[in-house]
Amino acid sequence: MTEPLRWAGYHWQRLTGGANRDNHERPYSYSSLLACRGKSSQTPTLAGKHRVVVPHLQPFKDEYEKFSGTYVNNRIRTTKYTLLNFVPRNLFEQFHRVANLYFLFLVVLNWVPLVEAFQKEITMLPLVAVLTIIAIKDGLEDYRKYKLDKQINNLVTKVYSRKEKKYVDRCWKDVTVGDFIRLSCNEVIPADMVLLFSTDPDGICHIETSGLDGESNLKQRQVVRGYTEQDSEVDPEKFSSRIECESPNNDLNRFRGFLEHSNKERVGLSKENLLLRGCTIRNTEAVMGIVVYAGHETKAMLNNSGPRYKRSNLERRANTDVLCCVLLLVIMCLTGALGHGIWLSRYENIPFFNIPEPDGHVISPVLGGFYMFWTMIILLQVLIPISLYVSIEIVKLGQIYFIQSDVDFYNEKMDSTVQCRALNITEDLGQIQYLFSDKTGTLTENKMVFRRCSVAGFDYCHEENAKRLESYQEAASEDEDSPDTPSGSLSNMAKPRAPSCRMVRSGPLGSISSNHLTGSCFALGSGEGASEVPHSRQAAFSSPMETDVVPDTRLLDKFSQITPQLFTPLDETIPDPLLETLYIIDFFIALAICNTVVVSAPNQPRQKIGLSSLHGMPIKSLEEIKSLFQRLSVRRSSSPSLASGKEPSSGVPNAFVSRLSLFSRMKPASPVEEEMSQTSKSPQGSGNSACPIETEKQDGNVGVTNGKVESLPGQPLASSLCYEAESPDEAALVYAARAYQCTLQSRTPEQVMVDFAALGPLTFQLLHILPFDSVRKRMSVVVRHPISNQVVVYTKGADSVIMELLSVASPDGPGLEKQQTMLREKTQQHLDAYTKRGLRTLCVAKRVMSDTEYAEWLRNHFLAETSIDNREELLLESAMRLENKLTLLGATGIEDRLQEGVPESIEALHKAGIKIWMLTGDKQETAVNIAYACKLLEPDDKLFILNTESKDACEMLMDTILKELQKKNPASPEQASSEALHQPPAPPDSGLRAGLIINGRTLEFALQESLQRQFLELAARCHAVVCCRATPLQKSEVVKLVRSHLRVMTLAIGDGANDVSMIQVADVGIGISGQEGMQAYVNLLFWYQFFCGFSGTSMTDYWVLIFFNLLFTSAPPVIYGVLEKDVSAETLMRLPELYRNGQKSEAYLPLTFWITLLDAFYQSLVCFFVPYYTYQGSDIDIFTFGNPLNTAALFIILLHLVIESKSLTWIHMLVIVGSILFYFFFALVFGAMCVTCNPPSNPYWIMQEHMLDPVFYLVCVLTTCVALLPRFIYRVLQGSLFPSPILRAKHFDRLPAEERTEALKKWKEAGKMDQLTSKYSDHSAVKSERIPISDPSAVFAVMSATSCAVEQGNLSVCETALDSDYSENKASGMAGPSKD
């Protein structure tokens, strides 16, 4: 009771107090959010719209009032209505629906006395009922929102109070801009605030943004420069600076502003300094900040677009049909009007019929006909069932309820179920034809496993690692049956979030892998996460699979050259593996430090590892080493350069020396030569490389080396370290480096500690990090090297980018240049090989800068950093200046493992006739290989590759391919016509399967207006399309294009869970056809008009008339729509082909509509004329005549439903029987009560009389039988002569389990056989034994995996920063099913 009161109070308060609030409520539009990703830089905030934030404290009171006082406080309100405006506003919203307007019009029409058909009030009844139901629903939804708002508003946080001079608890809603807030670990940030203090000695704070963008990895935030140094907490009392920043906007990745101290000194602010509302503080004991945006102005709230209204395909079509009905109605009314006019004109002069008006004036036939038209409209209004929309809505709610409670979509590990955020599109799930998928995180697990690397031109294929991976899988499959097994990352994803590092280092993997492709060097399939989420949310928390990298023995051997002993010069003749060793060292250092990985140790979340203790210690020794190196290097310049992997002595000292003067005195080493010999052994491109051979040779060594590894000092510490990376790639690389004893020990904003094997700890002074972005496709770190004291830039990025940035001319002489060229070629070869195996490649390069160069660059960079406007561009330029003239070190190949069951799912989806487009930013080769691996492409598919440089070439190529395709698959004529675009040809069941590969640049041409059509036609003919190197924008464009031009149901994989089993709930179409029974009923009224002088008389009492629609016949279709299930889920899962049925929305084709209409017409004829002829010439009175008509109509509608329905449960029976009983009950009661209503004729006692009259029963039975006979026969003939696959699948459901399996086998077999020849069906049973049936459990696994996608809503993104696909997935996810 108190709750509503409070609600009322709340809204009062809002109404009175927050009058200006609405001005600040931004229209939540998703498009703006979309745009901001791509175009943010083009829409810089106007300079005049900056916001000034002044501390909310006594000394600044005046200033505060002036600037910040007007800003919105932190109270949020997401409700749509208030108590006062609910009724008008809800009505306003509801009357946006055309149908409601129409019914309103009818109601108004009935108030016009001339055309009045019913009592005025009665026509209002249905409308009022519908409006009320919807209003109640809306109200409840809004109330729920209100409660949630209140809950959030009343959360408590610690705000600095000027009165009490300390932090006091205050509700979120009372937080205002300028408040100082102190948060502890794991607290949620109440408003956007600038970070002023962190207990972390380095001024770092980690936040988890999963509430915002779904990424569960930690993001690092930095205390505002200048505040880091302060030992104690910032005292709000002493804070006298003011903050100037841009106006609130919804760009999560942008924050510009500066902090101006009282002495006018300015410090730049960036998004690194901003804590976002809704995020959680992690790994940091406490933080303090000042609020800059609050409430609805926070970035999180500005991004909260609320549920978007998605019109489902069905609804659109239903609207069309309603329009048809309106047309029909008009025709019928015109007939009525005409008839009445003619009738009147015939008896114009007979006052007996043409009753004059009270003033003696007689209406002319024309006018009479005109009036009659409107009367008829009221009378026949039932043709457009007002309850249709309500029914659809209820049906959808029911479907969502069942989807959400489907145990198959339950994710055990996450303890979550599917959540449908958009109510309107459930039924469309069964009609998907196109599926757009991103690769990373959707098809693949987004779990990166370090697979291979190429350093200094040598390929190290890590055979042991591959073996280990396979063994993981085996171990995993043994554990298959124990669901409780904690699996590394999965347990991390469980709801209660552990405070910090969630890595589980040991323990069996609780996951299953039923599939791995053998025959290639790497295992596809997966060993991790049976019910893993498609977009892995555990990016930061790597599984053992990723963390344990078994080092390559050859490489380890080379590492063995780097030993502490060698730091001291042994003899004068040091051989020359040096350049290579140098490369190796640099390579691994780059792997270890060129990232943004956060190091933490388990169980000690907030402890920074070994920082101070190690600080300074190594420098001294390194100084010594350095001098040694310098001596050595001079000597070594003359040494022979013959590199061999098994050089007994180490070149480490030399390496360090040579680093000082990079490449200056060295001849190119010979790695090339060795590589040559190796490649000759291993033909590139074949599945297997030379690795096995190599490993066999060195088998003996492995054990030894491994043993050594474990005994190494520092290892125990290292193994307990956790790396939390923004992208799994980074983590994989760091773990890989660790496997080679190049352990990243700690990272602070100032320095990075690396424990490098034999060299001991190295501390790099971290000068700069140029973070990854999708434009540059690379990231760099600028460090001061502890040994050489030089400024070194380590860059890591996409191969294409890095290769272009390599220094063309080496200053150190042509020899080195040549060596670099060779190295580049070698590396490129390796890269190509990696991509062929579907590995993600990264290049690692470095650049040594002189101090002056660096200082020069630094000056410019600072300028860029502190500018508010155009900062992005400036920073980009600055980065470009830094990242050039690079020296290539090597490349890595990381495997992005396929999700569990992905190949099976894709195969099933293909069978279901769904076309799959893979949109990825990966390289073409990688993408194609992944496509093969996940069975998107089959080996015998014909591939067409669109890869052109110009539009014309693109056009020509497409033309050629099209012609070829047409030749191979002689298309049906309508496909060839231009209309083909609207009715895309179904993928050919047999014959040529074609795959289309198109790269980003060509896609750009293809998406241009003039080529779109051609491109689509081409794409429609291919069963799989792979778009590689696509930009985020292109991805969304592709989705939009296909959706709008092909007019098909599309699903972007963000939507997830387009699972085959969805068919069972995706059948509303029929639910509506049940409603069409109503038309039969309406037609009855129409027929009657022919026998009552078109006088608009109804032979049914209008109460019955109204209620008939509203009560008796509305529940069964709803139940039917919700519970309809044609084939059992098990059978469906095994026969994905059945999905095609729903896909073509066969249940609700326009043809079906017209057939149903025709059927309804027939039924109405029967329903009217059977009683008519029966009672012809009898003393039947009008309502007594109507009664059997009504009764028969009810039976017809209900039994029609029974015939059409594919599964009847006791609920159906209950509802149907209930409907009938309710009808009779109503008729009896109404007949008894209604003594004087509706004079002069009324339904008094009619039903009672009839129920004693055998003729009544005879008429009802006869009418029902005759009316349903054609439909029944039609269904029977269809069932026995042309059984649809669905129908036949139903037979399987009836069989006992074993028989069913057998029958299914037979069917599948027959399907295969039929393609060869149909004569061998006799042998199918024999043959089928040999053909493995894909394990349904695997598909189920995918189902649960995809369920998480749905759980994330329509839009599921979990990409990581390194992956350029980040925003595009979002884009496509949104663009997919939405129809704005």
């Binding site: 959010l33 959030i152 959360l155 670990c185 949620v188 509430g211 963008d213 779904g214 959680t280 909260n304 007996f352 009753i355 009270p358 489907d406 145990v407 339950y410 055990e412 303890d415 179920t417 209660p496 979030r497 002088g1093 032979m1099 299930k1125 008519y1172 002829y1173 029966t1174 009672y1175 012809q1176 010439g1177 009898s1178 003393d1179 039947i1180 009175d1181 009008i1182 007594t1184 005549f1185 599964s1207 009847l1208 449960t1209 003594v1235 002069p1240 004729s1241 008094y1244 005879l1258 008429v1259 006869l1262 039988c1265 005759v1266 029977v1276 003939l1277 026995s1280 002569l1281 059984p1283 036949r1288 037979h1291 027959a1310 149909s1318 069906s1321 979002k1370």
Partner: protein, 326 residues
């Protein structure tokens, strides 16, 4: 919608530093209802499964149809059109509206004797009036001819056939629905004081019948008339001829004449008036349609059953085995 600011998550994530807290298990109940695994009857309509239905329908419908048909045929009717449009008709003189009241007499002969007949009058009119016209258009147009039936036993002394006025309306209509103005002791005329007769009526409502129990609003002729006919051609029950408790037929064969007081004009709209003498049965008046329809539908469904039997025989295997691919 990953970008959604999910307030709920926020709240859920709220409990500070409470790893492994009590998370609600959101696993959906694995009940038959929620998982849509309710035991269901899945009607598969194939020739084989529906065969019995058709035969049963056939077997039931045909006898019913025959029964109805026979019943209907046993109903005997005699129809006399007394509109008078035919110049030879004795009622032709009454067509002129000037002659009121006009009495005409029609002679007819019953070939067979009628057992338990009822007499109906059927103003055969093309079109029905607007029922929902203001202020009782239906009542205004009430049928007001009177018909008397005489058996011409011998030329000079025709025996009047007693016609029962009461019992032609539904009991509920007479006793519940229609009520005279209150006041049991006051004469009916007083109770209707202040009212006037409808324009077309000859007598005011309280003078419809001398019997006060059948006069005013509860006059059964009036009640019957007020039950608005559904169709333009309609019958109204006029009088009943009760069977006497002797062995004589109610209306023995012989010559009769019908005395008609012609009040009700139908000529203007080409209407017809007929007197119908009919026996009654459980199914009302004579109407062969229902019986024929039943027989026809029964036969059709029987035939269909045979056709389906053939189909079933031919295609039996198609639905159960996998000979056909999709």
């Amino acid at each position: 919608m990953a970008m959604n600011y999910n307030a709920k998550d926020e709240v859920d994530g709220g409990p500070p530093c409470a790893p492994g807290g009590t998370a609600k298990n959101r696993r959906p109940d694995n009940t038959a209802f929620k998982q849509q695994r309710l035991p269901a009857w899945q009607p598969i309509l194939t020739a084989g499964t529906v065969l019995p239905t058709f035969f049963i329908i056939g077997l039931i419908f045909i006898p019913i149809g025959i029964g109805i048909f026979v019943t209907s045929n046993n109903i005997r009717e005699i129809e006399i059109d007394y509109t008078g449009t035919d110049p030879a008709s004795p009622c032709n003189k009454c067509l002129s509206p000037n002659v009121t009241p006009c009495i005409c007499t029609i002679n007819f002969t019953l070939e067979q004797s009628f057992e338990n007949p009822s007499k109906e009058c059927e103003p055969y009119r093309r079109n029905e009036d607007k029922p929902i016209a203001p202020c009782g258009a239906i009542a205004n147009s009430m049928f007001n001819d009177t018909l008397d039936l005489f058996l011409v036993g011998n030329e000079s002394d025709p025996t009047p056939i007693p016609l029962k006025k009461k019992g032609i309306a539904w009991w509920t209509d007479k006793n519940v629905k229609f009520r005279n103005p209150p006041g049991a002791d006051i004469p009916l005329e007083e109770r209707f004081k202040g009212t006037t007769k409808p324009v077309n009526w000859v007598k005011p409502v309280y003078m419809l019948d001398p019997d006060e129990d059948n006069s005013g609003f509860i006059n059964e002729d009036f009640i019957v008339w007020m039950r608005t006919a559904a169709l333009p051609t309609f019958r109204k029950l006029y009088r009943l001829i009760e069977r006497k408790n002797d062995l004589h037929p109610t209306l023995p064969a012989g010559r009769y004449y019908l005395n008609i007081t012609y009040n009700y004009p139908v000529h203007s709209f080409d209407g017809r008036k007929r007197m119908i003498l009919s026996t009654i049965s459980w199914m009302g008046g004579k109407n062969p349609f229902l019986g024929i329809a039943y027989i026809a539908i029964g036969s059709i469904s029987f035939l269909l059953g045979v056709v389906l039997l053939v189909i079933n025989h031919k295609y039996r295997n198609s639905s159960n085995t996998a000979d056909i691919t999709i």
